[in-house]
Amino acid sequence: MTAKLNRDEVLRGILRTLVDGWGYRAVRASLESMEGGGFAEPKRSRTRDGDAEAGAAVTLVNGLKVPSERRALLQALAVRYDEGSAFPTLGDARAFLLSHHRGAKDIKSRSQAFKLMLPLLAQMSEKGLEKVISRSHHSGPADLDAISKAIRGAGEDMRGPAADEPAPSIDRESSGTTSNRSDQGSS
């Protein structure tokens, strides 16, 4: 069991690196071309968890009575969910439910999970749904490396390169010292 989890984690790490570099669509298209069957239609795509119910999420949303703007956002999310690009694994759907303190241990498929997610999603505002959609492509727990890179990148944007990196130009007054944060402002 542990060995299997570790293999899954390794696979997820490799895929994350590929998705970061090439983007989700390119990686997916490439994987599917490797199978030799060409690019499958999204509705027929099969997720990692074996959930092959085509359009199940969209069908559920269509049966919902909600204001039109919210419906449009729910449909957009449902389309991505059915494609497998939103909450791509069963674990992601479980994480959403558990973060709302909803039991998710006995859930066996993503389509089953969506049935439990929908009442929570239907109670959200348009802004809240937009947030969920924008965050839903991520799979798995937070990757510290990605967060560290983002912090480093934003830091260089705000403060200039780190002290141990070569400065873009030589400034006699500041050479040999670390960057003066207070002079550069904080935001």
Binding site: H100, M124, S134, H138, P141, A142, I147, S186
Partner: protein, 299 residues
């Protein structure tokens, strides 16, 4: 008992007094010693208050290390940082800096600095995230106004039920800012040799604040024993017993309540903070402390 007056004020309706709710209860989670679980406790109390107690919650990350922000936003924190979303830095600067096409600096609004974490109907769990350059405010020539946070919260978040502030482990102007905004202080402590090192510092810090702000009522809600990150586990043997004796003595000296429910040692806590729900372990029992805590302060 000490919290009864506040309890009556907050829950006037429930007690049959018919008083209106006056605003959120604000609690800062603090210990002037690091690594005691402040961010984890703040994140989990926020979620519990939202999900189980049906509260409208605001969590505030007052630590430049931004662990609370990462624990509530998970992977989206990296996108947020890259896109330069609004943070506690802007609250202390009291304006939103110019962005391309924004037409210069903008007035500070609640929306500009809050991130939605959870939502259900009209209730939300919002976060004011932190950013690494928040610490620059401590080294800049001009120190920020410590009352600016309290003013901002009183103007923008009166409709919230609960505000939780995760403090940095070093005393600074941000600590004072947290005190100015807070009704209560919650103190997590790890039962080990260095456990009580932060207590005298914290007691002195609170005493100084009270001396300078006589009209401000701020109480210590209590001390929570956090075994979560303690290598000795829940039992801990004689080392834990010694640490607990020191903790009890310090708490008695300061008149601080110790919550009876401890946080159990569990690998599930760091997993939850990463957004990994595959194995909560005994972290699943955090609610036992959370329930006692909210019952104690009357929420």
């Amino acid at each position: 008992m000490r919290l009864a007056a506040r309890k009556a004020r907050v829950l006037g309706g429930a007690l049959g007094v018919g008083m209106a709710k006056t605003g959120p209860v604000t609690i800062c989670v603090i210990n002037l010693k690091g690594g005691v679980g402040k961010s984890t406790i703040t994140a989990l109390l926020s979620r519990y208050a939202f999900n189980t107690r049906n509260m409208d919650v605001l969590a505030i990350d007052l630590d430049p290390q931004a662990n609370l922000s990462q624990g509530l936003m998970h992977q989206s924190y990296s996108t947020f940082i890259s896109q330069r979303g609004g943070t506690i830095v802007e609250v202390f600067n009291d304006y939103v800096p110019p962005k391309p096409g924004s037409g210069g600096a903008q007035p500070l609004t609640a929306e500009a600095v809050t991130e939605l974490i959870l939502e259900s109907g009209s209730r939300r769990l919002d976060l004011i995230p932190s950013r690494f350059d928040f610490s620059d405010a401590l080294t800049n020539a001009v120190r920020p106004d410590p009352r600016i946070l309290a003013r901002f919260l009183s103007k923008n978040f009166k409709s919230k039920d609960l505000i939780l502030i995760d403090c940095a482990p070093t005393e600074s102007v941000f600590t004072t800012a947290a005190y100015h905004a807070s009704d209560y202080v919650l103190i997590p402590v790890k039962p080990e040799f260095f456990a009580t090192i932060g207590f005298p510092l914290l007691a002195e810090s609170l005493a100084n604040f009270r001396r300078r702000n006589k009209s401000h009522s701020i109480e210590v809600a209590g001390v929570v024993i956090n075994n979560a990150f303690y290598h000795g586990g829940n039992d801990g043997g004689p080392e834990k017993q010694r640490a607990m004796a020191a903790i009890r003595k310090e708490c008695a000296t300061n008149g601080w309540h110790i919550f009876s429910k401890q946080m159990y040692h569990s690998r599930g806590y760091p997993k939850l903070m990463r957004g990994d729900y595959s194995y909560p372990g005994d972290a699943d029992l955090f609610w036992t402390f959370a329930k006692e805590f909210f019952d104690h302060i009357g929420l």
